[in-house]
Subunit: 351 residues, 2 copies
């Protein structure tokens, strides 16, 4: 607790710049013992003008960060490579790592967590799923005392903004995408969001935390939301429903049977999912002993994601010697086909 915790940042995009602004702000709160010392960005020379702060070394060479005295490296680059390589290198250099990268955690989380434990360092990834909604801690720690059997969730804020806008205005998907872009909820190319590739990576992470399963994102049956039309919403409305991109996973511990999918489906108009609008996320977690626990919150955007990153940095700063054992995952499960259809509302009487 004596020395300040030095933080280096990889990537100064939407998330990275929000993290940087929070780290140098006077209200950093839990992170008051934390100091931002390095920022790596390919375009460091251009971007450094965007941040007014002293004592920060900007660099466009990742080796500078790896060789620095940073205690924690925040990976906010996105994409699988080189991000996974750089996380590995940072752990090998004796640094703890905080990442918002769902693709890396979904594909390489297990081996990276093992490496972190071997190095006596931490790898934390609350920001990889659910934005500010603390679902990684809720499932991985808060409900670790239960046997979780089912997850139903909205995990992609961009798609949710698009679909809830179509619901509200009756507009076309293209118009809703343009609107989401204008509000900063969608990137130039939102196809990974609409296609479900973002949500299925997050669902794979949650399957590891909740069920102890090593699920590859490509094993998750995924249907795109890109062809949803105004007529689909009109039909849903006729029976009191609406349409959301839902990530669903159900695990039968006795038979090791897993059902897991991401798809646009009808949800009951009074359900928590219908009430989830704009770039919000929501999740319902069913446990054998606790019944249903729900959580919802800001699922996208730099500020929300930065909250999760700062919480992880604070946890590391608080106890740099903490032992976070790697999860014991099994790949021995049987994928079951599900019979979901757009027309059959899946869900779900909830509070």
């Amino acid at each position: 607790m004596s020395s300040r915790c030095r933080v280096a940042l990889l990537g100064f995009g939407t998330v990275g710049s929000a993290v940087a602004r929070r780290l140098i702000a006077p209200d950093a709160g839990a992170s008051s013992n934390v100091q931002l010392t390095y920022i790596f960005d390919r375009r460091a020379v251009e971007k450094r003008a965007a941040l007014r702060a002293d004592g920060i070394t900007w660099t466009s060479s990742v080796d500078d960060v790896l060789q620095s005295d940073a205690d924690v490296v925040v990976e906010a680059i996105g994409g699988v490579e080189p991000a996974a390589d750089w996380i590995r290198a940072a752990l090998l250099a004796g640094k703890s790592v905080v990442t918002a990268n769902k693709q890396v955690v979904a594909r390489h989380g297990a081996s990276l967590l093992k490496l972190a434990a071997r190095q006596g360092r931490q790898l934390r990834f609350e920001a990889a799923v659910g934005g500010a909604m603390p679902i990684v801690r809720a499932i991985g720690e808060g409900l670790a005392g239960d046997r979780i059997t089912r997850l139903v969730a909205i995990l992609n804020g961009t798609t949710n903004a698009v679909l809830s806008q179509m619901e509200a205005t009756g507009c076309s998907l293209d118009a809703a995408v343009r609107d989401a872009r204008a509000r900063g909820y969608a990137e130039a190319d939102p196809s990974a969001d609409l296609d479900g590739h973002d949500a299925r990576a997050k669902l794979a992470i949650l399957c590891a935390l909740a069920f102890g399963l090593r699920v590859d994102p490509s094993q998750i049956d995924t249907r795109s939301s890109a062809s949803i039309a105004a007529a689909d919403f009109a039909r849903a409305r006729q029976h009191g429903a609406t349409i959301r991109q839902i990530a669903f996973a159900e695990y039968d511990h006795a038979t090791s049977a897993l059902i897991a999918w991401v798809a646009p489906v009808e949800v009951d108009g009074t359900s928590i999912f219908a009430r989830t609008k704009g770039p919000q996320n929501a999740a319902l977690i069913t446990g054998a002993h606790s019944g249903e626990t729900g959580i919802f919150g800001a699922g996208a955007g730099g500020d929300a994601t930065a909250v999760a990153v700062l919480g992880d940095i604070a946890a590391i700063a608080r106890d740099r010697a903490a032992i976070v054992p790697p999860p014991i995952l099994t790949g021995k499960f049987r994928l079951q086909t599900s019979d979901f259809r757009l027309e059959s509302p899946v869900l779900l009487e909830v509070v």
Copy 2:
């Protein structure tokens, strides 16, 4: 990680017996490295027949537990004394402690956490607030990267079961209390629940976690729900509202002004609080950077509370050397009077 984590249990009532059953069950999950070795209960001789398990020492002398080789003591006695004394004694004896006791944590949490840190042991209390709903971790860790400004919550499952039953059936409060007793949601004397003394202790704990304030439960303006009548629900219904026991806290970091109260108030019929029925709990947390995060789940009952206790035991078993620094709390805030009235719905457009 090599040796098993030995757990001793103080109290074999509703929560204690549920914890014991889970600890000896084959699906203990995250707690597979954990072994229940001692159970203290004043009526140990009578109660031991209720649990079929080998290798557990029953005792009606708390000193047996304090002198045992237990690594973790689970306090499930309730009440302030002797529970607080025994937690102190367990920490001084070098044990970590998990407690479900909101009164002890609200009154003595700060000093007990300091003692735990001094002893190099942990004091965990997820079960003290919100049952299985992991709100302690959500606020204390997941949203630690934000500046939280407001909490609105249903924190007492018994009162919520009573009020939502009155809403559903139009019955009197007495009839609803009898119903809640029959369902196991209310104790013989539910006055601490209805009066708000249970909820205000929990709110004091959340004020420490969220705002860093040392709030004594007695500072929290509290109005009883015991005089709510069917006519109050009828009046609320006329403007699309219903009645819930709400715990509210709002903190202005700039002026150090705190508003905190527990009272039965009208809530909008479409709000998350109106949808919270039976012994459920729910909370909305507002952060300066994350906006609104919500959480809901099973707020009462032995099984739900045991999930939270087992999660805390698992966290300790995972890293017995973890450093959990005591929070830095300030008592320097200004209590502001609020102008809540039963007739003015407080709440709140939410997802």
